[in-house]
């Protein structure tokens, strides 16, 4: 399948260039986000009856992991409300760029931190407390508010969207998995960018802002750091930016050699497996350990969680890198081969989320009518009783996701192994073993 340029269609292109459709979605999302914070802080402490828990961790999560990430990559980032207030403050404008320069510090992000290690850490921090976060409305409210204020704070100190690019715990894994999505933003002709004066896509112009994600579109080769904000589509004076449909996982044909991205793959794969065991498994002792934050059993849980992700899984994977010449080449091969874990990790999350979401989706209707758990009945659905949905398709759906992910990862391993000049078979074997464990945990 070749690429199909969606922006060739004038209606699509105009809709993407115009700021108003995006602003309308942004405003709705921001209102929903602020309401989720308020609901978390002042609504009922019963998670399954509170808008913040039900709409963030069931509804939003389902849309994100089952639809947005697999099919639109960073599509969520294009409408995410978290950076908005900070960005408006930073720019001193809501829509079109004003003539004046930003009035805040506008510093460059420190060079040593221009990677996704901070995102890895921020995700793990949330992951370690996830049993509390996913179930306790006021903790969810505090975390959502914290993310909003962190984004505002960073926007006043650093240029562009420093929070999204370097700190957001969600953005890190969306970026990783966006490489598999069948949609991309790319330039049409490199030569046009090479001769373009002023590079307005990066530096901004009267038509739009310089790339908020600190990416020069002329050098884009993968989706990881492109937030699909469409600023470059607005600023390019040569009509050289295109939004394309493409085959799934096209970016993984040229695997990354970065260790921060490699470890992101392990963090996501390992977390999905641990969550499947702790949250969906029948073992009460694991649930107690994960929930009772600060106790000795929680510290053991945290230690096992971190060592599984940073030691056990990478160490076994390192055995797949069958040739050791020197450390740099080994690290490069390790990182390249770990790209095979990206489709598998995404499918692990799909399989995990299917179970969680189908079981708890009926809370959405009740919460819609009574979002704060105060006895309201706005749409007549407050009394909707809890009932798992579509349980008969759950196991086949999970098998399809996991075995499909295994096949997808094995094909990716083949390409990565060709690039790394090693055999793909050990990596495929690794993928098979972790898939078997995940099948056992979920089925």
């Amino acid at each position: 399948m070749t690429k199909i340029e969606l922006t060739r269609n004038t209606s699509i292109k105009n809709a993407l260039i115009s700021r108003y459709p995006q602003l309308a979605v942004f405003v709705v999302m921001l209102m929903g986000y602020i309401f989720a914070i308020l609901a978390g802080l002042v609504g009922t402490p019963v998670g399954s009856h509170n808008f913040s828990i039900v709409f963030v961790w069931i509804a939003w999560w389902a849309i994100l992991i089952l639809v947005a990430v697999p099919f639109f990559g960073r599509g969520w980032c294009a409408v995410c409300p978290i950076p908005l207030p900070g960005e408006w403050l930073q720019r001193g404008a809501v829509l079109n760029p004003p003539d004046k320069k930003p009035k805040w510090f506008n510093l460059r992000w420190p060079k040593a931190l221009r990677n996704i290690w901070l995102q890895n850490i921020s995700f793990l921090l949330l992951a370690l407390f996830s049993s509390v976060l996913l179930t306790t409305p006021n903790i969810t409210g505090i975390v959502l508010a914290g993310m909003l204020f962190a984004a505002i704070g960073l926007s006043t100190v650093f240029e562009r969207r420093a929070f999204c690019r370097y700190l957001c715990p969600v953005g890190g894994f969306i970026g990783l998995y966006s490489q598999t999505a069948p949609i991309e933003l790319r330039i049409k002709d490199k030569r046009v960018c090479a001769t373009c004066e002023g590079k307005p896509c990066y530096n901004g112009s009267t038509n739009g802002y310089g790339c908020p994600w600190d990416v020069f579109p002329g050098g884009l080769t993968k989706n990881t750091y492109c937030g699909l904000c469409m600023e470059c589509l607005r600023t390019c004076p040569h009509d050289n930016i295109a939004v394309n449909m493409r085959p799934f996982s096209a970016d993984l044909a040229k695997p990354s050699t970065r260790m921060d991205e490699a470890f992101k793959a392990f963090i996501m794969l390992g977390s999905a497996m641990i969550y499947a065991g702790v949250l969906l498994g029948p073992w009460g002792v694991l649930k107690d350990a994960a929930y009772n934050v600060g106790t000795s059993t929680w510290f053991i849980y945290a230690a096992v969680f971190l060592s599984t992700i940073f030691l056990v899984m990478p160490s076994f994977f390192a055995l797949c890198v069958t040739r050791f010449e020197n450390l740099n080449i080994f690290k490069k091969r390790f990182a390249m081969l770990s790209s095979a874990l990206i489709p598998l990790g995404l499918m692990f999350w799909v399989a995990f989320s299917l179970s969680f979401v189908l079981t708890n989706a009926s809370y959405i209707l009740a919460s819609l009518s009574d979002p704060l758990g105060l006895g309201w009945n706005l749409f007549g659905t407050a009394q909707t009783t809890w009932q798992p949905m579509l349980t008969s398709i759950l196991a086949p759906g999970q098998t399809l996701a996991l075995v499909g992910g295994l096949i997808w990862s094995s094909r990716t391993a083949q390409k990565a192994a060709n690039e790394a000049k090693v055999s793909a078979i050990p990596v495929i074997g690794y993928c098979l073993i972790v898939t078997a464990v995940m099948l056992w945990l979920l089925l």
């Binding site: 019963v46 998670g47 399954s48 009856h49 049993s131 509390v132 179930t135 306790t136 702790v278 949250l279 969906l280 498994g281 029948p282 073992w283 009460g284 002792v285 649930k287 107690d288 929930y291 969680f356 079981t359 708890n360 809890w386 798992p388 349980t391 008969s392 759950l394 196991a395 098998t399 996991l402 075995v403 295994l406 096949i407 094995s410 094909r411 083949q414 055999s423 793909a424 078979i425 495929i428 074997g429 993928c431 098979l432 898939t435 078997a436 099948l439 056992w440 089925l443």
Partner: protein
């Protein structure tokens, strides 16, 4: 073809005489004890649910049957395990923060779906390895 065979081919079933099985399950925030039950297809299952702290329920996925127990009280649920496979049972009365994750597991007969899925994964990988070797 091999994948289809692994996924759908009928497996030999050893006929086992149905029995009456009674399980006493203690429910507390947020766990059941015992949390894993194994029975044979056709068995009549009686679950005596004892709640040791707050009100808890027990709902069996796939069977759509449930029971509720007040604190310190015992409630009884009886049903026949007509469907083979692995099913989660879970609390259906909001009982606290971790309520959505208060889960147990009922296995009726062998967990065929797990074995078939693992077999499917093996067949898929074998096919890809053969392709890798040929390329």
């Amino acid at each position: 073809m091999a994948g289809l065979a692994v996924a759908f081919a009928p497996l030999p079933v050893q006929p086992i005489r149905p029995q009456e099985r009674t399980f006493q399950i203690e429910a507390r925030q947020f766990a059941y004890s015992p949390s894993e039950l194994n029975v044979n297809p056709g068995d009549t299952i009686t679950i005596r649910l004892i709640s040791t702290d707050v009100v808890h329920g027990l709902y069996v996925d796939g069977y759509d049957v449930s029971v509720e127990a007040d604190p310190g009280q015992t409630a009884t649920l009886t049903f026949t395990a007509t469907k083979p496979g692995s099913f989660r049972f879970r609390c259906n009365i909001t009982c606290g923060a971790m309520h959505p994750f208060m889960i147990g597991k009922l296995t009726v007969g062998a967990n065929d779906w797990l074995f078939r899925s693992a077999g499917l994964a093996m067949v898929a990988v074998l096919g890809i390895v053969i392709l890798v070797k040929r390329s």
